[in-house]
């Protein structure tokens, strides 16, 4: 008797798993229980795009330098700081707390952006 219950719950778990998968990637954003989302910021023409990125808590943001000139991604408040990124190099940071995180390129400080974590 005990054995059939555990099999039933296992079956239920499988069904739930399949259901979650078939719901498509959008459901992952909605549910805080799911694997964290990754978002991209592209560096083009001495600017961060998008300049303001709004993401849920737990999101990993990846910056990619697509310029012919090196850039950095440095948090104005000292929360994160990349090494220098040459062409096509990337930097990632996972935002585990809510808040607004302004950042800039420490080589070209006119380049600024922010990540809003909700």
């Amino acid at each position: 008797m005990r054995r059939s219950v555990s099999i039933a719950s296992l079956a239920a778990a499988l069904v739930f798993g399949v259901g979650a998968l078939s719901a498509g990637p959008k459901s992952f954003v909605v549910s805080a229980q799911q694997k964290p989302e990754t978002m991209e910021v592209k560096i083009d023409n001495f600017s961060f795009g998008p300049a303001t990125l709004t993401v849920p808590v737990g999101t990993t943001v990846t910056w990619t330098n697509r310029d012919d000139i090196p850039h950095t991604v440095v948090s104005t408040d000292g929360v994160f700081k990349s090494k220098v990124l040459d062409t096509d190099e990337k930097f990632s940071f996972t935002f585990s707390k809510a808040g607004t995180f302004p950042y800039f390129c420490s080589i070209h400080p006119k380049m600024t952006g922010k990540v809003v974590v909700q």
């Binding site: 023409n45 001495f46 310029d67 012919d68 090196p70 104005t76 080589i107 400080p109 600024t112």
Partner: protein
């Protein structure tokens, strides 16, 4: 076609040596080079094509030195896949000058990514230059990742703070300043309180007749703040130099020649030996400008400076590598 007057300042209404048309013309010369004579704070400039018409008075002096800038060793993108080759060409140009310069100033961005091997390559190439002494100030590309520690170890002997210093040659006070450290979000180049205090003290007891040459990487005048081409606290620095009859400010960073005169101060930026950048606002960003390979050397260059004692004059000559 270049009749007399075409290439020199004619419209100096305010008698301050600044002529808008002449200034813009100087800007347009980026790539062809300019010869400039500064007398009592007034700039006379000629296109390089007129050099043969000028007498030895303008091209000789008690002191001559060369400014090179922005070698960006390690850069290998389409704008110039051979920055070592063009630096060598710059050295050849220096070695071919009729009067061997006494020394060289390098106004920063020696390396592209602050890698030891990039600095090593530049050091090796500059060894073949006739002038043996080279005085450096860092560019932002020379102080990546380590707050300038490596730069100071290599080039900063005897300097103060982040690498500022002064020295005297033939009665001229040369002052190397650092404005690429601790840059703030949204801001421009910065000298900082400590360096400004040092500068004030450095020139306090000098005679007003002492010619001053200041060199730093980012322009100490507002070339184009939208692209970060300026220095936040440069006005304070220049304030300490107001009393002097002849002040020449030499910068790099913008990879093109540009000049202007403000009272007793002549500002000049040097071409890069590596790759050109667009004129202010003429492109989406100040990124490297790709020009046809056969034109590249015409937009790279060196700057030769002559000081004639008693004339309060420094003659600034830009030469392309072409």
């Amino acid at each position: 076609m270049a009749g007399k007057g075409r290439d020199e300042i004619l419209h100096d209404h305010n008698h301050d040596g600044i002529d808008r048309r002449g200034f813009l013309k100087c800007m347009a010369w980026a790539g062809t080079g300019a010869f400039c004579v500064i007398q009592g704070g007034v700039l006379k400039s000629y296109s390089l094509s007129r050099l043969p018409e000028l007498g030895p008075k303008e091209t000789r002096g008690e002191l001559s030195f060369v400014q090179i800038s922005d070698s960006h060793m390690g850069f290998n993108k389409p704008a110039n896949p051979d920055v070592a080759g063009t630096l060598k060409a710059a050295v050849d140009k220096v070695n071919a000058l009729p009067v061997a310069p006494e020394f060289m100033l390098h106004t920063g961005d020696i390396s592209h990514l602050s890698k030891p091997e990039e600095f090593d390559t530049v050091d090796q190439i500059l060894k073949s230059a006739k002038p043996k002494d080279v005085f450096y100030v860092p560019g932002e590309h020379d102080v990546l990742n380590d707050d300038g520690k490596q730069f100071l170890e290599r080039y900063g002997k005897g300097s103060k703070g982040a690498g500022w210093y002064s020295f005297d040659k033939s009665g001229v006070r040369f002052i190397g300043l650092v404005n690429v450290m601790n840059l703030k979000a949204g801001g421009l180049g910065t000298l900082g309180h400590e360096q400004l205090e040092w500068l004030e003290d450095n020139v306090k007891h000098l005679k007003h007749s002492t010619p001053i040459v200041v060199f730093a990487h980012i322009p100490l005048w507002s070339v184009y703040p939208e692209w970060g081409w300026g220095t936040e606290d440069s006005a304070q620095a220049l304030g300490y130099l107001k009393k002097f009859g002849s002040v020449t400010v030499l910068n790099g960073h913008i990879h093109q020649t540009m000049q202007k005169v403000e009272g007793n101060v002549t500002f000049h930026t040097a071409a890069s030996t590596a790759f050109p950048q667009p004129q202010p606002g003429k492109a989406d960003s100040p990124g490297p400008m790709k020009v046809p390979a056969e034109q590249l050397k015409s937009v790279l260059g060196i700057t030769d400076v002559n000081y004639v004692q008693g004339q309060h004059a420094l003659a600034v000559v830009d030469s392309t590598l072409a």
